[in-house]
């Protein structure tokens, strides 16, 4: 089959994968209950969402290249070696690109790996080879903009700081290798998840495996966040460490992405390093390029396995009994949500984001006292991140709406379950912030006092969001397509939640300026009132 024909077919598969990853799989069979125009709108919306995700990743890469890579290499402190700062800058950029592409890819990868669209391609008069090529081209479509932008941005940034032609050629190779590593990481994790982790099992070992895998799954998120937040510090720390500890150089020169960094530094500043380090970085880089070529072949092979439906969810061993342990309704909903999230990476990563945010904020306290400003900053960050959760939690109900809507579920049980889970995640985030502060031997009293009182505000805000969304979508269903297709509604509800959590903080800050002794009473009073009002409102829901 001609390449143009394969490319055209891969476009159809790509559109279907985008649709499945965003709407169809999470809409239960509710799609059938929508009019033709409405479904067409959803299909277009899925296309636009996929494009926005790619454009955002490309923009992040561009911003990272222009505002992090260039400044870190050009404006390195005079005490640091220019060459080592350059190595640090290149390495940070490559690592950033690796994790950003992996982070974006993981949002669609399980849909891609488990894609049912190949079931449609299979019976068509296409050879296995053609199906594999279509799946591979579809994979390229998923990542096209970020892959292109990484090349363009890195080359442009490198040439902007006065790089050499040889260095530019090496830059193309390192970005190519990095992109392949990102794709291998994404497809590998999704393949492993779908075929081995996304299965049942009640044993503690299986639960632990799922939990560990989820932690691995959010590693790219964590790493991308970390590198983008602290790249300047990373570059400087790396350069000063390497400068003071020359033996470290001999090791780092062998490690990805530093080997590429050293090689590009050699090509840019030929007299900067000695010959042994040049030889080692060259040899290591050749090794990594070879690994990336092997990775590319593995991706093509995996595309073939997807194309021939060889990736299947594994079955577990026979069960011992048929006993079940029903809970009270709201606990049953929470238990189900946690189970679904533990086997659905896109949900799990959203569950874990507040923890990551909390840990970073606590780390970013740097040295010195944790004052009121830092405390309020942490509470704002963690509470706002937590408030992104309620719509996601409600969208879990949409997965099986066509069945769940027949169950005698009360609105109150749903509101209580989703609010409790959101608040539970907030409290755990707070405990993580406290643990990090404790480890750094900082004063915990302010975060502990204000953080726990702020739980009342966070509860009120989560309850407000869940109540509005529940009333709005109870009859229509909580499919992702409903919750997120009207962004204006969604953003408005989030803003309301943010206002509730910000109110006691703004009031306390005002009190801090006018009458410092009233900070805590004002903060606590407003949080209590918010909670009481929302409990009264939610209890009237029928």
């Amino acid at each position: 089959m001609r390449f143009s024909e394969l490319w055209r077919l891969s476009g159809t598969v790509y559109n279907e994968v985008s649709f499945q990853s965003i709407f169809s799989l999470r809409a239960g069979s509710l799609l059938k209950q929508r009019g033709k125009t409405d479904i067409e709108r959803l299909v277009n919306s899925a296309r636009v969402n996929a494009l926005i995700s790619k454009v955002l990743t490309a923009i992040f890469i561009a911003v990272f290249g222009l505002f992090v890579f260039i400044p870190s290499t050009v404006n390195a402190p005079w005490t640091l070696s220019r060459e080592l700062a350059f190595v640090g800058g290149v390495s940070a950029f490559l690592a950033g690109v690796l994790f950003l592409i992996a982070f974006m890819g993981l949002q669609v990868a399980t849909s891609f790996v488990s894609s049912k669209v190949v079931d449609v391609l299979g019976p068509l008069p296409l050879s296995k080879n053609d199906v594999s090529k279509i799946v591979f081209l579809c994979l390229l479509r998923v990542f096209d903009l970020p892959l292109i932008s990484a090349h363009v941005v890195f080359l442009a940034a490198y040439l902007a700081i006065g790089g050499s032609i040889l260095g530019a050629l090496i830059a193309v190779v390192c970005i190519f290798a990095t992109e392949i590593f990102a794709l291998v990481l994404t497809i590998g994790l999704a393949d492993f998840f779908y075929s081995r982790v996304a299965r049942g099992g009640r044993s503690k070992w299986q639960v632990l495996t799922r939990f560990l895998f989820m932690l691995v799954w959010i590693l790219p998120t964590f790493a991308a966040y970390f590198i983008m937040s602290f790249s300047g510090t990373i570059v400087q720390s790396f350069a000063s460490f390497a400068q003071s500890l020359s033996s470290l150089l001999q090791v780092l020169v062998l490690v990805y992405p530093f080997s590429f960094g050293f090689l590009m530094a050699h090509a840019t500043f030929p007299s900067g390093f000695d010959n042994p380090s040049l030889g080692l970085s060259f040899a290591a880089s050749i090794g990594y390029v070879a690994a990336s070529v092997y990775g590319l072949r593995w991706i093509a092979k995996t595309a073939g396995r997807i194309g021939t439906s060889q990736i299947v969810a594994r079955k577990v061993e026979a069960m011992k009994d048929t006993l079940i342990r029903p809970r009270i309704p709201w606990l049953g909903i929470i238990q189900k949500d946690l189970r679904v999230a533990s086997r659905t990476p896109s949900y799990a990563s959203l569950f874990l984001l507040p923890f990551v945010q909390s840990a970073f904020l606590a780390v970013s306290f740097s040295y010195g006292e944790v004052d009121l400003t830092k405390t309020f900053g942490t509470l704002v960050g963690v509470s706002m991140m937590t408030l992104l959760l309620p719509p996601t939690l409600l969208s879990i109900e949409g997965i099986s709406s066509a069945y769940v809507k027949s169950l005698p579920m009360k609105k109150k049980s749903l509101i209580l379950a989703k609010t409790s889970l959101s608040v539970g995640i907030y409290l755990l985030s707070l405990i993580i912030a406290l643990a990090v502060s404790l480890y750094r031997r900082q004063d915990l009293s302010l975060i502990a006092t204000f953080g726990f009182i702020h739980t009342l505000s966070v509860s009120a805000a989560a309850m407000l969001e869940v109540t509005i969304l529940t009333n709005r979508f109870w009859k229509e269903g909580f499919a992702v397509g409903n919750l997120y297709s009207r962004l204006s509604n969604y953003i408005l509800i989030l803003i309301l939640g943010f206002v509730v959590v910000l109110l006691p903080i703004v009031a306390a800050f005002t009190a801090f300026i006018l009458a410092p002794h009233l900070v805590l009473p004002v903060f606590a009073a407003i949080a209590c009132v918010e909670f009481a009002v929302m409990v009264a409102v939610a209890s009237r829901v029928s």
């Binding site: 299965r199 026979a318 069960m319 342990r325 049953g332 189970r339 679904v340 027949s406």
Partner: protein, 257 residues
């Protein structure tokens, strides 16, 4: 006056500008097995979804054991529902899914577990009890939905094409369970395309066509109505839904190729 198990009056369901059910009215008595028959796209599934409380109608009156869906928790507690397309939580196992459904229904472990054991054994689902639903065959997914519908021993069973995907053994068991349920005084509303089953199983049938109840009654009533006393339910169905006209010509045209 006897309380009806299901009462539908002037039911209208639309999707955008498309009218799926157009002023349909029928009723089901206690102890009755009511079959809803109709060609593809006739409005059977939409009607069934409204009865199960999954779909809100545009207009019309629906009562389950004398109660409307304005008190949906109480009404839904009386119903066991099996959808046409079984879309459950794929990442859960049958055990976890049934645990969730039982939690929402507030079932006690002491009541639910003996019943669950009998049902899983009857439908031979035990060996898949800890397997993710995503990995189950269509038939086994159907069994999970059927067990979930029967677990709380509801008064009314609402099944949409329940036998599709089931093996012969499970199909036979389900038919026996449905008959036994009706004998106990419970009611069953189910849609099917399989005329023989409707003929053998149903106390009464309603034939729905283009969103309207075209004909209703026992199979004998319908035979009298369409003046085809010897005809099978399939013949009656084709006549009532006006699909018989020209069918012989179509078959001949196909055979002549």
């Amino acid at each position: 006056m006897e309380q009806l198990a299901v009462k539908v009056e002037g039911l209208v369901v639309n999707y955008g500008s498309f009218i799926a059910v157009n002023h349909a009215s029928f009723s089901v008595r206690n102890g009755e097995i009511y079959g809803l028959l109709g060609p593809n796209g006739a409005g059977k599934t939409s009607t069934i979804k409204v009865l199960a409380g999954v779909l809100t109608p545009a207009s019309g009156k629906v009562e389950i054991l004398g109660k409307s869906f304005s008190n949906e928790v109480a009404t839904k507690s009386q119903i066991g529902y099996v959808p046409e397309e079984v879309v459950l939580f794929d990442s859960l196992t049958p055990r976890e899914f049934l645990e969730f459904a039982s939690s929402i229904r507030r079932l006690e472990p002491d009541t639910v577990n003996p019943r669950l054991e009998k049902l899983t054994s009857a439908f031979e689902l035990g060996q898949y009890f800890d397997t993710p639903i995503a990995a189950l065959s269509m038939g086994n997914k159907q069994k999970v939905a059927i067990i979930a519908a029967l677990l709380h021993d509801p008064k009314i069973l609402i099944f949409d094409e329940p036998l599709i995907g089931l093996d012969a053994r499970s199909s036979k068991i389900l038919k026996e369970l449905v008959t036994f349920h009706a004998k106990k005084g419970g009611s069953v509303v189910f849609s099917t395309h399989i005329m023989e089953i409707a003929e053998k199983l149903c106390t009464r049938v309603g034939i729905i066509n283009k969103g309207e109840i075209a004909s209703e009654g026992t199979v004998d009533d319908l035979r009298k109505l369409v003046k085809s006393a010897e005809g099978s339910l399939e013949d009656i169905f084709l006549k009532v839904t006006e699909q018989e006209t020209g069918m012989q010509d179509i078959i001949r045209a196909l055979e002549s190729e």
